[in-house]
């Protein structure tokens, strides 16, 4: 079973890297980019076969290590 975790900075936390990307896009002529937020995608290959158990396990991984919930939020997809 595969899981995909998206980690993003919380709303309201400034993202200087996203802002630099937005600026670079403007320099390259891509007009109308209002904002860029940069995050992470983490893919996990799990031996679990039960969907709910896998999601529970991955959420625990996010809380413990994969995301820093002081500044980040996460979403979990089980595929």
């Amino acid at each position: 079973m595969k899981a995909r975790v998206h980690v993003m900075l919380k709303d309201g936390v400034l993202d200087p890297q996203g802002e630099a990307v937005r600026h670079a896009l403007g320099t390259l002529g891509f007009a109308g980019v209002q904002a860029v937020r940069q995050g992470k995608v983490i893919e996990l290959d799990l031996s679990a076969t039960d969907r709910a158990a896998a999601e529970h396990q991955v959420r625990a991984m996010c809380e413990t290590l994969l995301a820093n919930t002081v500044i980040e939020t996460f979403t979990v997809e089980i595929a």
């Binding site: 936390v13 400034l14 200087p16 890297q17 630099a20 413990t64 290590l65 994969l66 820093n68 002081v70 500044i71």
Partner: protein
């Protein structure tokens, strides 16, 4: 006083920190990240600067969950002293021993230079050798020193006089110019500047030695 200096894969200020403690008069023991316990009788744990685990995932994130991390957390829970410098500060926020987080510098550049700091409180074992408002110079060398916390946390840090140092000129976008913060019991200090790189007149000044002498003084026999 007995000081333990932790080394993670990628630490690069561990020896400097050990020398700084030793010069101030501490007995220094070195601890490896796989160690599950601290040596007996350790009073203070030093978490050094560097790039532990290559800064993978987030700076300090993997180090904070390494085997020695639990021993350091237990030490802090017993009221033990912990000093985290640069990457060590990042590790302490990742462990939850200090509030907030260190994000990428606002200017996106690695900043490596001496900076002027203001001692924001003299009320700690670390800063008792200065007076509030003293100006000191310590080197910084980091890419992720942009201190970030929510409004409630910032208000609590200010209200409880837990901001230890502020930048005179903010080099990284840190909220409220914060360069270092204390725990609620004032025994855990994290700071981005490097006091251990300022303990020798021949090597960039001696302002940092005040911190080590102060904390040693806190353990002096009465």
């Amino acid at each position: 006083m007995k000081a333990a200096v932790v080394t993670f894969p990628g630490s690069n200020c561990d020896r400097d920190l050990a020398v700084a403690f030793a010069r101030a008069g501490a007995e220094v023991v070195r601890v490896w990240y796989k160690d599950t316990a601290l040596p007996a009788g350790v009073d203070i744990v030093g978490i050094p600067g560097g790039f532990s685990f290559g800064d993978y995932l987030r700076c300090g994130a993997i180090a904070a969950r390494s085997p020695v991390g639990r021993a350091v957390a237990d030490h802090a829970a017993r009221g033990g002293f912990v000093l985290g410098i640069c990457n060590g500060f990042q590790v302490l926020t990742e462990m939850g021993l200090l509030p907030g987080a260190l994000m990428r510098n606002a200017g996106l550049r690695f900043v490596c230079k001496p900076v002027t700091l203001t001692v924001a409180t003299a009320n700690s074992a670390y800063t008792g050798g200065w007076a509030r408002g003293d100006r000191i110079i310590l080197p910084v060398a980091h890419h992720d020193g942009n201190y970030t916390a929510d409004a409630g946390t910032l208000a609590r840090l200010t209200g409880e006089d837990r901001i230890a140092f502020t930048y005179a000129e903010n080099p990284n976008g840190a909220m409220a110019d914060i360069a270092g913060v204390l725990s609620a019991n004032r025994r855990v200090l994290g700071l981005m500047p490097h006091p251990e790189r300022a303990v020798d007149a021949a090597l960039g000044g001696t302002d940092g030695s005040v911190l080590f002498r102060s904390v040693l003084g806190a353990f002096a026999p009465v």
